[in-house]
């Protein structure tokens, strides 16, 4: 027997929302999904009229859906925004080259200009070369740190007012878990913020913060959106993988666990007596950093000097190596 849409529209339901457990028809689901994202944007005042917004686009489901929904909502509710797609080419054969094709297709479909920046032009290294030098450990450390900065650089280059990323509820819940596992109290406190900004940088925000990954897939599936879905060839060894598997197990048992973790994360507050890293600027590249030399610069220095371990691990460690090298 067909199940009726719980929104009482009279149609048959086609899916069950993981977030609430309600059965919805296709149209009501689209409407609910879009309304929620719209609500997140409005109630958090993510955008200002006439802004130029860069969408960090990887070609994956999150950024594809994000670009689609933002375009749609911008027209529907007249946000008065202009968009540009910003992609980073890490130089991973068999992964990024393919996904960039999807982004190029998005560019046509959504009529948004596209800017691609590559690790090679920014840092002189592709991820393939980096992995060849450092081996299969700590790959995501390099890639993640470089990408974060590359996006900042790209945003500055395009002179945008704001950068949006496709982080979804699952990603943030995963980050909450991971920051606890790693004891990273400073990140634990700020990882649930919907907008991150600091002086002299372009604000970043996450309009899909409260959207479940599964609902994003559902949305893309029923809207027949094209996206690229292959895991990065270097990812399987990452520590994040543990948190990811754990979160999926939790979700299977209680689908609301994701939003529950998000709620927990939002409620955390750090004691005043705990010393927090201070935000400053990197003395080399001028981007935000809590250290004298930012992570991207020390990783890069390590690569260029043939000492890939330089940027991995403790700062004191790196300082010792630098000192020894200087004396030498």
């Amino acid at each position: 027997m067909p199940v009726l849409c719980s929104a009482n529209c009279g149609s048959n339901a086609v899916l069950k929302r993981p977030k609430t457990g309600d059965a919805l028809c296709k149209e009501c689901f689209f409407w609910a999904f879009e309304t929620e994202v719209h609500n997140t944007i409005i109630s958090n005042k993510l955008f200002q009229r006439n802004s130029l917004v860069a969408i960090a686009a990887s070609g994956g489901k999150d950024s594809t859906v994000l670009a689609y929904v933002l375009k749609l909502l911008n027209e529907k509710y007249d946000y008065g925004l202009r968009f540009v797609l910003l992609s980073i080419d890490e130089g991973i054969t068999g992964y990024r080259d393919d996904s960039l094709e999807t982004v190029k297709k998005n560019q046509e479909d959504y009529e948004m200009p596209l800017k691609i920046l590559s690790y090679e032009e920014l840092y002189g290294w592709t991820m393939d070369q980096i992995v060849a030098q450092i081996g299969r450990k700590n790959n995501c450390t390099f890639c993640g740190v470089f990408r974060r900065q590359a996006l900042d650089r790209g945003a500055a280059l395009l002179r945008v007012d704001c950068l949006v990323t496709g982080h979804n509820a699952d990603d943030i819940a995963e980050t909450v878990l991971m920051n606890i596992l790693r004891g990273d109290i400073a990140r634990l406190q700020r990882c649930t913020a919907i907008t991150t900004t600091s002086e002299g940088t372009i604000p970043r925000c996450k309009p899909l913060k409260y959207t479940y990954e599964r609902e994003i897939v559902m949305y893309a599936y029923f809207k027949k959106l094209v996206y690229f879905s292959t895991e990065c060839t270097f990812a399987p060894n990452a520590y994040r993988g543990y948190a990811r598997v754990f979160l999926k197990d939790l979700e299977r048992m209680r689908p609301t666990a994701i939003i529950d973790i998000l709620h927990s994360g939002e409620q955390l507050s750090v004691k005043d007596s705990v010393k927090m890293p201070e935000r400053g600027k990197c003395t080399r590249c001028g981007f935000v950093s809590s250290q004298e030399i930012c992570k991207a610069c020390s990783l890069l220095e390590g690569l260029n000097r043939g000492l890939p371990k330089l940027g991995i691990g403790k700062k004191s460690h790196a300082d010792r190596i630098r000192k020894a090298l200087a004396e030498f």
Partner: protein, 454 residues
């Protein structure tokens, strides 16, 4: 919960998991440097028997001493469950009170054992057996020991607390037992059952402490337990209460503080302590121990962390240290004012413009009422919908309004429990409200304490 079996592997004295595969077979004790080492407590830390016992004792003493919360001659309630950790705690206190002990402990402890049998659905025979084993376990500690069944939470009376050694049989109040059973059978998931049991147990401990004129409660939660509890509380939406639920001191009830003096000892060290001293323990099945491996979020979290700890041996302590750095959210509009009727923690369900809580409420509003959930005037609809959502928050906190259950709001985590219960949980209403009011009065009293004569 018992992990003795993993721990016994370590007796083979090879350091596991770490980068150094050097055998510790003929190692001497790291501390006294004379005796041959017997156990490895942490990475590369091999102890002989005496040094291990001293180590555990020292950790316990240092933790209590550092807090400076316990005054001489104070009456302290010690919560005992029969687990390895509680056997250790009783033994540490027992030894600490001996006249021959240097720096004798100065407080006077009273042991309380809560019998969860009714919640777990155990038969009267099983409960009697556990009771008798408990009697034997606690016989030689020379402290006054009390027993209180969990069903007393329905309607707590002072004479529900019974001297364990003077009783030979259990007097079971079948009416209360069936009520407690109904409440727990009514909950769909083991996750909520475990969660509710912890809350009710704490509730009963506080009431027992008040009855016995104790101003503090000691529990035997180890650092490992607390790390697991921290993570599982995050998972079940109780992040706001972490400083109370896993910190050293739980200040929910201002007149009875709950302290966790074994927080700096690992579960492994405790297991070795019990083994070396030959202490008696009592095994009481938990909800999850009779079920399949991943029957609850708590169990799943524990399995995950134990697994991760094998590969990254600092996992548990890192998590625990993270917890130590957290405080109650001072930005919460309910900070220090209103608390949850069920768990007495600060309320975390205020709806700011951006919160996971509000987002969920909106999601369920739009998927239940469709477009009708929103007013028709363009972009302002959202404010209306959040108004609506806010109203829904209020109504959802008074679940089963018709039955008059839970007039006071409950916190996010407790709402998840209530959402699973059909109705039976209202059986708890009276006692919880009484308890809630008592705690509120205590807070009021503390506030005006400076102006009270006497």
């Amino acid at each position: 919960m018992c992990s003795v079996s993993d721990d016994l592997d370590c007796l083979s004295l090879t350091s596991s998991g770490s980068g150094t595969d050097k055998s510790l077979f003929h190692a001497t004790c790291k501390k006294c440097r004379s005796e041959p080492a017997k156990v490895v407590v942490q990475l590369k830390e091999a102890f002989c028997k005496n040094c291990l016992l001293l180590y555990v004792n020292h950790r316990f003493r240092a933790c209590l001493g550092k807090s400076k919360l316990i005054k001489p001659k104070e009456k302290i309630l010690v919560a005992v469950s029969g687990s390895l950790a509680s056997a250790t705690l009783v033994d540490l206190i027992h030894c600490g009170l001996q006249d021959t002990t240097p720096k004798r402990l100065m407080f006077s402890p009273i042991i309380v054992f809560i019998d969860d049998g009714a919640a777990l659905g155990l038969s009267n025979e099983q409960r009697l057996k556990i009771f008798q084993e408990m009697r034997i376990m606690l016989k030689n500690c020379g402290l006054s020991t009390f027993y209180v069944p969990l069903e007393s939470v329905i309607n707590f009376e002072h004479n529900d607390l019974k001297e364990i050694q003077s009783e030979t049989t259990l007097s079971i109040n079948e009416c209360s037992v069936s009520k407690v059973r109904k409440i727990f059978e009514d909950l769909k998931s083991v996750t909520s059952k475990e969660d509710l049991l912890i809350k009710l147990r704490n509730n009963l401990l506080i009431q027992s402490a008040l009855t016995l004129n104790c101003s503090k409660i000691l529990t035997a939660e180890t650092g490992t337990d607390l790390a697991v509890k921290l993570m599982s509380n995050i998972v079940i939406g109780r992040g706001a209460h972490l400083p109370l639920d896993v910190g050293f001191c739980d200040t929910r009830c201002t007149s009875v503080l709950l302290l966790r003096p074994l927080q700096d000892v690992s579960k492994k060290a405790v297991a070795f302590y019990v083994l070396m001293k030959g202490l008696k323990t009592v095994f009481i099945p938990a909800f999850s121990s009779i079920e399949r491996k991943n029957c609850s979020l708590q169990k799943l979290t524990e399995n995950f962390l134990v697994g991760l700890h094998c590969e990254f041996p600092s996992t548990m302590s890192t998590i625990f240290r993270t917890g130590e750095k957290l405080s109650l959210n001072p930005l919460s509009p309910n900070f220090g004012t209103s608390s949850c009727e069920l768990c007495q923690g600060p309320l975390d369900i205020y709806a700011t413009e951006s919160s996971a809580y509000l987002a969920t409420q909106i999601s369920s509003a739009v998927s239940k009422y469709g477009k009708a959930a929103i007013n028709s005037d363009g972009i302002h609809v959202m404010n209306h919908s959040s108004e609506r959502a806010k109203n829904r928050i209020l109504s959802s906190s008074c679940k089963n309004e018709a039955n008059g259950t839970f007039f006071n709001p409950v916190c996010y985590g407790c709402q998840l429990i209530l959402a699973e219960s059909n109705n039976q949980i209202h059986l708890l209403q009276n006692s919880l409200r009484k308890h809630h009011n008592q705690i509120l009065r205590d807070k009021m009293k503390e506030e005006i304490a400076d102006f009270l004569i006497e």
